[in-house]
């Protein structure tokens, strides 16, 4: 502590250590938050199938859906943002499990409260429902809402719509 550099070093590193501890404390203060605060998903269902076509050997379906969900309970002071996304999952003969994100949205903690409640009809997909091959026709597709909590400090954790409330639909047997 006898020179300026040593003191500068000491202050900066002590400061960073304290900041680290405060961040960790903030993360610890919200353990178990999800147990009592779950987002409410009122509706996620297919609205309209726009098209299902074959592009160069690959099937692609375009559709729109309705989404009513209140994400407010997922937020707390250690959350920086929630990444909400709609997943379509289906089975084909070549791939026993396919999961594709059709739509996503980032809700930041600083967004106004109205942005944390999603109530939208006929939302067109951001990413087409695209198969690896040409096996989409006639498949049963399940839509499920999932969200990823991105904290300021601490672990990332996922949340998902309860399996028994998800909706499914069957794609037509012919291109359209």
């Amino acid at each position: 502590m006898h020179t300026v550099w040593v003191r500068l070093n000491a202050v900066v590193f002590f400061g960073l250590t304290v900041l680290l501890c405060l961040s960790i404390l903030a993360a610890l203060s919200k353990i178990g938050h999800t147990r009592y605060h779950q987002p409410k998903i009122h509706k996620l269902a297919l609205n309209q199938l726009r098209s299902i076509k074959n592009h160069g050997g690959v099937d692609r379906a375009l559709l729109s859906f309705d989404l009513h969900a209140d994400m407010t309970p997922a937020f707390h002071w250690n959350i920086k943002q929630i990444f909400v996304y709609v997943v379509a999952s289906y089975k084909t003969d070549t791939n026993p499990n396919n999961k594709i994100v059709l739509w996503d949205r980032i809700i930041e903690a600083t967004d106004p409260p109205s942005a944390k409640i999603i109530k939208e009809e006929n939302v067109f997909v951001k990413y087409g429902l695209m198969d690896q091959g040409a096996e989409l026709r006639g498949r049963e597709v399940q839509l499920q809402l999932m969200w990823d909590h991105m904290p300021l400090t601490g672990t990332l954790y996922m949340g998902e719509q309860a399996k028994d409330t998800t909706s499914t639909f069957t794609l037509p047997h012919d291109y359209l």
């Binding site: 006898h2 020179t3 300026v4 550099w5 960073l16 900041l19 680290l20 961040s23 920086k80 943002q81 990444f83 996304y85 997943v87 070549t94 791939n95 026993p96 499990n97 396919n98 999961k99 594709i100 994100v101 996503d104 980032i106 930041e108 990413y127 695209m130 690896q132 999932m146 990823d148 991105m150 904290p151 300021l152 400090t153 601490g154 672990t155 990332l156 996922m158």
Partner: protein, 232 residues
Amino acid sequence: MIKDMIDKQVIELKKLWANKRMLTFQLLNLAMIVFSALMIWKGLMFVTKVSVLLYWRFSRRIDCLFDDEMGWVDHNGRMSWRKYMLRCMLPLEDRLVSESPVVVVLSGSMEPAFQRGDILFLNNSVEKVDVGDVVVFKIKDRDIPIVHRILKVHQKPDGHVELLTKGDNNRVDDRGLYAPGQLWLEREDILGKAVGTLRYVGMVTIALNDYPVLKYVLVGMMGLFVLTSKEG
């Protein structure tokens, strides 16, 4: 006050130069600090498997630092001791790139989830990666690891998966970033899944990254300080 300090340091340096025994001692002292730092660093990596990986921007900068165009060597092909010291310290970070379970985010492609300066903790022991997971992957023959989110998962009957990723802040998926002709990522390409994050604390890294001069000043100052300081 600063002028006083500089004068003091210059006087100390002159005295040191006159006393070769003292000079050797201080140089050894400096070497000890550098090596013990290296030792702690390597030890940390080994024991906790936690160390700092500097993400793509930084690695790119290191790559160009090692180009001779950057003036590391003079026209005689020699390197000054000061540059040598800096160069000795830089590969420390460079070599960690593929092994480290900690990443400092230096690009904005995942904003606002991860801003530049955030620290990410990776876990590569997870067997399954799923859609929506944030993963760090590396393209073959390219040194630069990328932190992005999984957009598509196709699982084969034998259990192995083909993945497509996308940065939250990017408009298109990552196919353009993959190797020519590569359409899917596989589990082996993934260095780890992001399991934890730490904001604010990593900002020092960003400061050092954005103002490289600062880094040289810091390292230089440390060297000078160690050379001229006495046991106190």
